[in-house]
Subunit: 217 residues, 2 copies
């Protein structure tokens, strides 16, 4: 049976302008009907030549998540070593580095997340054929009041993650998305205005404050 798309009634504007990375989750499980609806939204996104190479592995069994979480935590710290950050524990992260502090806490707490989705493709180089689906997934989750955050995995743990979850070698891993109902209060996102990252007709050319007069007549 198909899930009821009408439940994704939040407006596109509200979902996009209020989407923010959620890294602290309540322990409540996500109902399977909601997961189904979120995944149906994900597969609607475009892919190259409509070949649909995106594959999703949904984890919602606490023991599986606990074992995966240990690998995720190891991967997070391995990435810090690559980046030559001088930290070896959460306590050493400067408090003003809020992004790293929050990410390190997620690395500790992900083992207790109610749900984790791994996004993969059945072909190499398929990023542009799976990441649009991941954004659909996160926006659909947002519309249902479910928080999420896109994360990566350091190569050092990939083989063990594949082994733990029985993922065939030929699959390409792209993103790991922990999901759950938000815990705590969350402010709005900090994003550059579009005018700072957009040029018009030539690199470096300002969009002239987007006045309609700039449009061709």
């Amino acid at each position: 049976m198909q899930p009821d798309n009408a439940r994704l009634s939040m407006s596109v504007g509200e979902a996009m302008f209020s989407q923010r990375s959620i890294r602290r989750f309540r322990s409540d499980p996500i109902p399977m009907d909601d997961l189904h609806l979120i995944l149906e939204a994900a597969v609607k996104a475009p892919s190259g030549g409509n070949r649909q190479p995106a594959r999703f592995l949904v984890l919602n069994e606490p023991e599986v998540i606990r074992q995966f979480g240990a690998l995720y935590r190891e991967a997070w710290w391995a990435k810090r070593r690559d980046e030559k950050r001088p930290w070896t524990s959460r306590e050493q992260i400067p408090p003003e580095d809020k992004g790293s502090t929050a990410a390190a806490r997620l690395a500790d707490e992900i083992k207790d997340a109610p749900c984790i989705v791994l996004a993969l493709t059945s072909v190499r180089g398929g990023a542009s054929s799976v990441i649009p689906s991941v954004q659909n997934l996160m926006l659909a989750a947002r519309a249902l009041g479910i928080g999420s955050v896109p994360t990566t995995l350091h190569p050092t743990v990939l083989e063990r993650v594949y082994g733990l979850l029985g993922i065939p070698q030929e699959m390409e891993f792209h993103l790991c998305i922990p999901m759950g109902y938000p815990r705590g209060n969350f402010g709005s996102t900090q994003r550059k205005p579009a005018s700072e990252v957009t040029f018009l007709n030539r690199w470096g050319a300002s969009v002239n404050e987007w006045t309609s007069a700039a449009a061709p007549v």
Copy 2:
């Protein structure tokens, strides 16, 4: 001035479940206010560490689009050669290959598109920090009645595209998105159901038709 987000009033469900690749456009220009709103929606998407490396180059000047379109067309046919397709002109594409027929027509007609957005990043390997923005851009366009399709560019033309548009060498190109008001009638998309591309807790494990009973208690 910020654009009015309330104009993106279409529901998330309708936008996602009705999004489909549009490759035939009317010549009407897209109002700059709409482009602004679409790009503001794009920059709201998440990026790795919130570093926001995504950059957008919006083309809406007919002469620029005409010159870019010639390179796009050359790139499309170069990709067919890579794929060892035996075609050298549109007429040779088997009519039953509707995807290639539509893509070849876009390669011919893109020179007349009212708008093209190029999505790039200021860092290498930034796919997962720009493609979520591209999906926001296409969904926001959909919510405003504007069609789009994500496309790539063959490497053989990239240097000339960078030269034509003044794009610095250090930028990484990701996707090219022609946009415009749809011309003609369009059916719904053909997508695999989520249950065919999703596994639960272990690769190959069916989602059991998403019954709520499968959720942990």
